[in-house]
Amino acid sequence: MIEKLADYVNNNHALVRQGRFINYSILVGVGETDFIIRIDGGRVTGVRHRQLNIDSGRFAIRAPTEIWEEFWRPMPKRGHHDLFSMMAAGLAQIDGDLLPFMQNLQYFKDLLGALRPASIGN
């Protein structure tokens, strides 16, 4: 599912504008699979499986597959509806350099939430 992220993000002009200063990769772990997501000017320009152990991103957000699946449902259960809520509930974790994450917090919440049908908050 996450492979299609560019389709959902790049046509969302408000979201792209919100992330216009972002030019780096992040890592998203879906279960045992790590994805490197490249962002340029707020647009997703690449989503690929992590090929090398040395591949990484500025920060990594990881959750079990079933947690992401619930997060991406049209109306997620409580605790699964937001990145911070998932962390509060112990369902997800973030590692790495948190500064770029915090500088663009709502962007990253909405970036990953963009895979949800009729994204919450739009």
Binding site: H81, D82, S85, M87, A88, L99, K109, G121
Partner: protein
């Protein structure tokens, strides 16, 4: 003729912790005084829907004010020399000073989030001064899940990160219009104010060791919390209600941490019966 809302805003001076504070206060309606306390990092605008609801204002004089440092209330003179940090004592003193300055007789106090915590402290300390307390998203013990230093530093936009911190506290079911209005207020807080409020909310306000002493026969306690609240969770609300014997707790399905501002139509379904019960019992 202009069509005004029934809300009237004014300023009042009151002394808090030795400082004369210029406080912004709004009110609407007549009847039993109902003082509404806003959440950490926001201001009194959160209660605007209650204040334009005749089902409430026909029976209650609804008052709300911006805490010092918040909204249109000033910080104390010399604020640049102070790191703002809300303590339990300062918060209690502020609410008591407001009620005295407004010459309120046995008001009902309703607060949300940190406001929902302080009303429990007030019920314990001054049970005969209040007709009842209503804790929205209020519990006697919470567990922090983020580092508040992110909220006040020069390399992170304070307003945007504050809104980003709490955006997930709004239920996914809540209308987009009110979601973003709630977050807009968060984006407008002064530097370090949300962080300073969270000192009370996350650190200083715990009193689960004393909440059991609240006498609900002298001061009725109502607890209303949203299903999607990640800080004052339904579980923590129920735990609090178990400790406060005689309190009444409701978990609002499909609601988050800001019931009065994120979903006013759903909130009135929960709050009207509570306000009616308080009115009838008095």
């Amino acid at each position: 003729m202009p069509t005004f809302e029934p809300i009237v805003g004014r300023y009042i001076s009151m002394v808090v912790a030795g400082d004369t504070m210029r406080i912004y206060v709004e009110e609407a309606g007549s009847g039993i005084p109902l003082v509404c306390l806003h959440t950490a990092g926001s201001d009194s605008r959160q209660f605007r829907h209650l204040m334009t609801d005749p089902s409430i204002t026909d029976h209650y004089r609804v008052l709300t004010f911006d805490l010092p440092w918040h909204g249109k209330s000033n910080p104390p003179i010399g604020w640049r020399e102070i790191e703002y940090k809300l303590t339990t004592g300062l918060y209690k003193e502020t609410v008591v000073a407001f009620c005295q300055a407004m010459e309120l007789n046995q008001p009902v106090i309703m607060g949300c989030s940190m406001g929902g915590r302080i009303v429990l402290h007030l019920a314990l300390e001054y049970p005969d001064d209040y007709r009842a307390v209503i804790a929205l998203e209020g519990a006697d013990r919470l567990k922090p899940y983020y580092d508040t230093d992110w909220l006040h530093r020069p390399d992170v936009n304070g307003g945007e990160v504050a809104a980003g911190f709490v955006s997930g506290q709004i239920a996914p079911q809540s209308p987009s219009e009110y979601r973003w209005e709630t977050l807009w207020a968060y984006m407008q807080g002064g530097p370090g104010v949300f962080k300073g409020d969270l000192y009370f909310y996350w650190v200083d306000g715990h009193f689960d060791d004393r909440s059991v002493q609240i006498d609900t026969t002298r001061c009725p306690v109502y607890l209303l919390s949203g299903e999607y609240d990640s800080s004052c969770t339904p579980e923590r609300t129920r735990d609090t209600a178990e400790r406060i014997k005689g309190s009444k707790a409701v978990v609002m399905k499909g609601m988050g941490h800001f019931p009065m501002s994120e979903n006013p139509a759903l909130f009135r379904e929960h709050i009207l019966p509570v306000l009616k019960e308080i009115r009838v019992n008095n």
